[in-house]
Symmetry: C2
Subunit: 310 residues, 2 copies
């Protein structure tokens, strides 16, 4: 009887359903994003079309989901963090559009579709990226001002700009670009990824928590969580590039190797890279030790980031 | 006696010395800008070099000077507006770097020197632009938070992002790009320029005043001033493109005509364009009727923008 269908049903219900959580949160964010780029037809209609093409192209919405999950982990209301959720996805999308440009990585496919410049041309793609980046700060400022104290929003804006700019994401992209084909140590690789992808994860988690009313101590714990998660994400990404097929990934794979880029599997080997990813997953979980079940989404997200593949 | 050297000296001293004002204010801004991009040598040193190359290349610094002058016009302290002064110049500089790219206007010279991508390559130039745009919001948020109420800074950030993004500068650039060679009416030309160049002038003046403690009524008057000034700037720019030489301008001229772009002289003729510029100058002056001598810098700037050439 104890193993009967009714009780099993209850047990399953009690388990955290990450798949459902991801879908529901992604849907919430996508509804807001669609409104952000829903401009009436006008002389610049082509710009909004190009912005929508990349912004509403699906994807896991991992960064905005992290924003919302961090907000929930400290007991905040989702509305408080929605401006930041939109902003980080807009910034992530702009960075993909610019990274794909012929003068950068020169990629033709992204998420299984032609890249922005293949459809709209280089000029419009460059400008669509510029607009998404700029509009992100407008959305963050305006949406958050409705729900959160201005002082807290201001600090969130400053941290996001720091994470995305010369000291963060853009700086990381330059290091990556100039370092192609150069041998790297693990330390150099960590610095590169802390800037190129880690900074935006960090700003997502810290900002989501801050907007949700986190204490400084809570932000510090979540900081450690986000650093481990961001690095784990990159290690797994490197592994996927080695092992995935273009069909699985929706974009060209094995390009790191072709370009002689330093990767975790290239430096550590595949087995030790997998170990590292698992160790980072544990580190992320330990950082959440002081949080109650409100942080379960964050816990499952750390596992999800590593398990996508391993 | 009344015409003697002593009295003349006094008279001249009593006159507003715009040349000196421009130089002093530009120097203040340049000192702050140099600090913003003064990064210690590191893996991304080349990025900062490219940012400095364009940001510290001189120029009139018209937008940041307008920010400071608007702040002074309402009795504000310069420190309150310095973050915005830096931010608007960083955003203006990013827009020049991206506009000069081969996929956009494909220009080789700017302010008498090779354009950013001619020196650093397209990838670094694109990223230097991205970094200047992103860092602008960090500088605005951090510097202003030291001197101004967070609520006021937040509104200034939102307005700046609105002015620079899809609804403003970037949108204007797209309209310009897609409209090359198409006949335009004066109304279409005004809409184009209100977005492409006017929006950033407007955000400079409104934001400078707001950070300086302006009332809503004062901001509305300065709004009218800035709209007239921005349009006057563009009319004169079009005239300069027709009449200036590359040596005078430090960049290629007559390119509007080569590309079949609609300009004021092309639509109205040179004489009526000059009349329009003068009428806009008067309109700018009238908008300042309610302000005391604190707004003298703004008054002289309106004249300066038109007299650069006419």
């Amino acid at each position: 009887m104890a193993d009967g269908p009714t009780l099993r049903g209850l047990e399953e219900k009690a388990l955290f359903d990450l798949d459902r959580y991801l879908k529901e949160r992604a849907l919430l964010v996508e509804r807001e994003l669609a409104a952000v780029v829903d401009e009436p037809a006008g002389a610049a209609a082509r710009l909004y079309e190009a912005m929508r093409y990349s912004l509403l192209a699906g994807g896991k919405r991992l960064r905005p989901v992290l924003v919302l999950a961090a907000c929930e982990a400290v007991g905040g209301r989702l509305e408080a963090a929605m401006g930041l959720a939109c902003a980080v996805e807009m910034i992530h999308t702009y960075s993909l559009i610019h990274d794909d440009l012929p003068c950068m990585d020169d990629d033709d496919f992204r998420r299984g579709r032609p890249t922005n410049h293949k459809v709209y041309g280089e000029a419009i793609a460059t400008l669509a990226g510029d607009a998404l980046l700029t509009d992100a700060f407008k959305v963050l400022a305006r949406k958050s001002a409705q729900n959160v104290q201005p002082k807290i929003v201001l600090e969130t804006i400053a941290e996001l700009a720091q994470a995305a700019g010369s000291a963060g994401m853009v700086g990381g992209q330059v290091i990556d670009l100039l370092g192609e084909g150069k041998a790297k140590t693990i330390e150099e690789l960590e610095e590169l990824h802390a800037k190129k992808t880690g900074a935006l994860f960090l700003a997502s988690v810290r900002g989501g928590a801050r907007l949700g009313g986190a204490s400084e101590a809570q932000i510090e714990s979540l900081d450690a969580y986000a650093r481990a998660l961001g690095l784990a994400f990159q290690v797994v990404d490197d592994l996927l590039d080695v092992q995935g097929t273009p069909e699985q990934m929706g974009k060209r794979t094995q390009k790191d190797q072709e370009r002689g880029k330093a990767t975790y599997p290239a430096i550590l080997g595949v087995e030790r890279s997998i170990d590292l990813a698992r160790e980072l997953e544990s580190r992320a979980h330990r950082a959440l030790a002081g949080f109650d079940t409100g942080a379960d989404a964050l816990r499952h997200l750390a596992t999800f980031v590593v398990e996508r593949k391993l």
